[in-house]
């Protein structure tokens, strides 16, 4: 069967792979423009770059109040999310150092999406390290479908989510991989036992925008079932959360029967 045309551009940024898929032909400027968005944010916010502003702040060479407007705005954004998630999402590591990686990748994805729109691209799928933002549809009008990695076997897919205008963004957080920006609520204080409900090993969230999806996936992974319930009361979401015992908590989009 002949497939309608998809064009793809894959590159490395923020220590992970970024994959841009466009239905039809890729606008000529799109690859460079999207890469520039990621590199610009990475240059400023990477804690792996000795010369970055984030590194200067983390080392206290640069006081936060003297940092750039963009840095302070990212800080404020992260702090707001911490409040909205009642502390489950954090912009600080347990040692107190500032770590904005939890919002920067999502910010890059969102901005890249705006860039794509400005270039006239309306049907695309952008995946940065497993966080996915979609726009429009696949060739032929089929919706974008995002697979979700099986937490017990990363070579296979656990489930899938069909994006639509209400839920164009899908993000996943898990404990099995790079977990430096995921800290369980109470872990640093040693009072994790006071929390009720299930703790999860992988959380996938579909939301109206990638920042919400990404932050809440991280927050729910950190805060467990309590945070999941909190999030579902505040935002329109579809969620599937895997616990360590092989069970799931899932909203209707991820269930075969309701």
């Amino acid at each position: 069967m002949t497939q309608p045309e998809l064009t793809r551009h894959v590159f490395m940024a923020m220590g992970t792979g970024v994959s841009l898929t466009v239905a039809g032909s890729m606008p000529e400027e799109a690859p460079d423009a999207v890469e520039a968005v990621f590199r610009s944010l990475d240059d400023r916010f990477s804690l792996y770059k000795p010369e970055s502003e984030a590194t200067a702040v983390a080392r206290r060479v640069l006081p936060v109040e003297h940092s750039s407007r963009e840095f302070q705005s990212a800080m404020a954004r992260a702090e707001l999310w911490r409040t909205l998630t009642q502390g489950a999402f954090r912009a600080h590591r347990p040692d107190g150092s500032i770590d904005l990686s939890g919002v920067i990748k999502a910010l890059a994805i969102a901005r890249a999406g705006e860039v794509l729109a400005s270039l006239g691209a309306h049907d695309w799928c952008l995946n940065a390290g497993g966080d996915v933002l979609t726009s429009g549809s696949q060739p032929g009008g089929m919706p974008w479908v995002v697979g979700v990695v099986d937490p017990t076997d990363r070579q296979s897919l656990l489930t899938q989510f069909t994006c639509d205008p209400a839920y164009p963004a899908v993000a996943t957080s898990g404990v099995a991989e790079r977990g430096e920006h995921v800290w369980r609520v109470g872990e640093a204080r040693g009072d994790v036992d006071r929390l009720g409900g299930a703790q999860f090993v992988q959380v996938t969230v579909a939301a109206a925008d990638i920042m919400t999806a990404d932050v809440l996936a991280t927050a729910i992974l950190s805060g467990g079932q309590v945070t999941l319930e909190l999030a579902l009361q505040q935002w329109p979401l579809q969620v599937i959360a895997a616990d360590s015992a092989g069970g799931f908590l899932a909203t209707e989009a991820f269930r075969t029967s309701t």
């Binding site: 600080h92 107190g96 991989e177 109206a208 579902l232 935002w235």
Partner: protein
């Protein structure tokens, strides 16, 4: 030891709030500076903080933010109040088809001391959108159809090779 840094973070946040920068897109709401309506003491003199200074310098610019374009936003002229050492900033009420939300931030001595918000659910239809997460067996989870999948969501990949490889595998399936 983290307290000190958190304070610095809070202070930075206030700087942003006070300068009218639009913060966040949580559920579509946008926080905007509302210090222009400083009532009470009459002058914004949050002790020693950049918040007071910036709020004064930018007084009256809050309403110009893009948040004003949100559909149904009704109370853009939210007032900020300042009392000795303490200020309250009320974000514009942001509405969408699921309801509305308004955030209030209290600043005391240059630090965020409280953030509250009020939200209202929309019509009955919006309430039905609210999802319930229920215990689900793996056999009850929607199965992935690899032939349909365009892209894969997973925890951040340690290796870009993995992502690239997975993508190429998907390309082959398609």
């Amino acid at each position: 030891m983290s307290t000190k840094r958190n304070s610095a973070a809070a202070l930075a946040s206030i700087g942003i709030l006070a300068t009218g920068w639009s913060i966040g897109t949580a559920h579509g709401q946008t926080l905007t500076k509302t210090a222009s309506g400083a009532t009470g003491s009459g002058t914004t003199t949050a002790p020693g903080s950049s918040a007071g200074t910036k709020a004064g310098a930018n007084s009256g610019t809050g309403a110009g933010s893009s948040s004003g374009t949100a559909a149904g936003s009704s109370s853009g002229a939210a007032a900020g109040t300042t009392t000795a050492g303490s200020a309250t900033y009320v974000g514009t009420r942001q509405s969408d088809r699921w309801g509305s939300l308004q955030v209030t931030v209290t600043v005391t001595n240059g630090k965020i001391t409280n953030v509250t918000y009020t939200s209202t659910a929309g019509d009955g239809k919006s309430r039905s959108i609210e999802a319930r997460a229920t215990p689900t067996l793996k056999s009850e989870v929607v199965a992935a159809n690899s032939a349909q999948v365009s892209s894969v969501s997973g925890a951040t990949y340690t290796s870009a090779k993995y992502l690239t490889s997975l993508q190429s595998a998907l390309d082959q399936i398609r």
